[in-house]
């Protein structure tokens, strides 16, 4: 009963999740969920706590291996893959609980997002000259653009472990952007932020989407943000798909109102 929205979806299908089921021992985290993400859109995944949203992202970038179902990314179908392969195919993500490299500076964190793009030989790395240094400078320029874009110039050389939470989230977004992903997965990018920080972050997400044309899938609990930002929304509950469609359609869906937004009295 998947509802398709040819008119609303922006481009061709970038990623399709097909009847995926995932369980840990006897606990079913995801049951038979299908949906797709189209090129250029902002796709939101919402649902109550424990609905399987983060598990879904973990399946998409290869961290969890589903027992059933297939995932098609850029026309290639696979049932499981290693996370590093997913990354090299162009999937980047941020994490619910900030997963930055705490001992490294902001600059190094974002630079580490360029790892896949860097390939100078170990030999040159030993001397930090020639191709290794040229490459380092080239990528530093790219990273500086991201730093400008996210307005974090002042904390360039601060170890991220010392930064406040809101800035850490921003650095994490920067690190994901440094990978120049085709698909960007954001796991609760605004959790624990105040209104101002949320506005900033929303602006960055929209800018990333429009300026770089990056396709974004995000999980978020703030309904106002979700409904404003996203092109399409998929609703999960207890690991099953409850609804799928534009924000307006989802808002109007009786199942969603009953299960998620609360039954009207």
């Amino acid at each position: 009963m998947t509802v398709t929205h040819e008119t609303i979806g922006k481009g061709e299908v970038l990623l399709a999740v097909d009847q995926v089921s995932l369980s840990f021992g006897g606990i079913k985290a995801i049951t038979d969920v299908s949906f797709d993400i189209r090129k250029g859109e902002i796709r939101a995944i919402i649902g109550p706590n424990g609905a399987g949203k983060t598990s879904m992202l973990n399946v998409i970038n290869g961290f969890y291996h589903p027992q059933q179902g297939k995932i098609t990314f850029k026309g290639q179908t696979r049932s499981k893959m290693r996370p590093s392969v997913a990354a090299s195919q162009g999937i980047a993500r941020t994490f619910q609980n900030v997963a930055l490299f705490k001992g490294m500076s902001t600059l190094d964190n974002i630079m580490s997002g360029r790892t896949l793009k860097m390939n100078s030989h170990f030999f040159w790395q030993c001397f930090r000259h020639g191709p290794a240094m040229a490459e380092e400078i080239r990528h530093r320029e790219f990273v500086e653009d991201i730093i400008d874009f996210l307005e974090i110039q002042a904390i360039r050389k601060v170890p991220v472990g010392k930064l406040p939470y809101g800035l850490q989230k921003r650095v994490e977004l920067g690190r994901a952007l440094a990978m120049e992903p085709d698909l960007l997965l954001l796991d609760e990018p605004m959790a624990g932020m105040n209104l101002e920080e949320k506005e900033d972050m929303s602006r960055f997400i929209i800018d990333v989407n429009t300026q770089y044309g990056t396709t974004i899938a995000l999980i978020e609990h703030d309904m106002g943000v979700v409904m404003d930002l996203s092109d399409r929304v998929v609703v999960l509950e207890y690991g099953r798909k409850l609804a799928d469609g534009t924000p307006d359609e989802v808002k109007a869906d009786q199942n969603v109102i009953d299960a998620y937004l609360g039954v009207a009295h």
Partner: protein, 318 residues
Amino acid sequence: MDILFKVLIDPFLQMGAMPDLFVQTIWDGFVTGVLYALIALGFVLIFKASGVFNFAQGIMVVFAALTLVGLYEMGLPAPLAVLVTLGVMFVLAVAIERVVLRPLVNQPDIILFMATFGITYFLIGLGELIFGGNPKQMITDQLYLPRGAIEVKMLGGFVQFQKIDIAAAVIAVVMIVALAVFFQKTRIGRALRAVADSHKAALSVGISLNQIWVIVWFTAGIVALVTGIMWGARSDVSFGLQVIALKALPVLILGGFTSVPGAIVGGLIIGIGEKLGEFYWGPLVGGGIESWLAYCIALGFLLFRPQGLFGDKIIERI
């Protein structure tokens, strides 16, 4: 082919040809394993309650035995020497809690691990300074431990059981049962288990961490004393024993750092495995493989079960 025969078939033929020798080897391995298990047990107690990878457990064994013998040589009667040694172990527990654990609370695991290295060095120096560096004889008779051996006729030969080994096995069983009862049935035992699960939660319901740590380190000290007596009775008492104490580490990998049954089963597997390996396969490569076989058994095992024998499967979350 010859090599394959020597490695894969010949040892088993030897086992079959002289089953009495085989039983003897198993028994030797079993007793060694019990002693490994005892060291590992002291380790597990501390790791569970304070999250400290206590490298000093092996040294505590030697230190306890050395103190006991040293006090006896200074003229104390044996029972009194045991009591005083227990007192020393208690003071040690309090001192470690005060001087090492309390200032280092909440530091990364590796820092606490390193601190126990400091304790190790300190105890080696202190023990040798007070009691001298020469190997000593354990006061077996004065502690009413049996001597001699029982020879049992079986399988067409004789198998020798040292009485002290039998005593060691019995005492180990008694102590493990006592610890299990202590953990499961008493108020302190419940507090210990609470601390093992979560320090913060335990604190929030009014359990004193400092007190628990002293109790745990003291318990580990008692285990160390018993182990030291048993081990000292089989060889002699000197800091050379510390290398043997390192063997408790592969036992821990096998059994998992937090599992008491794991420590026991792991100890037996390592003890028996390494004796069999040394006796039947060792001669093929020139002997002496006892020094590393235990680690390789543990390592091979770990590749297939990274969580240890009794650990739960780890689900990584992010």
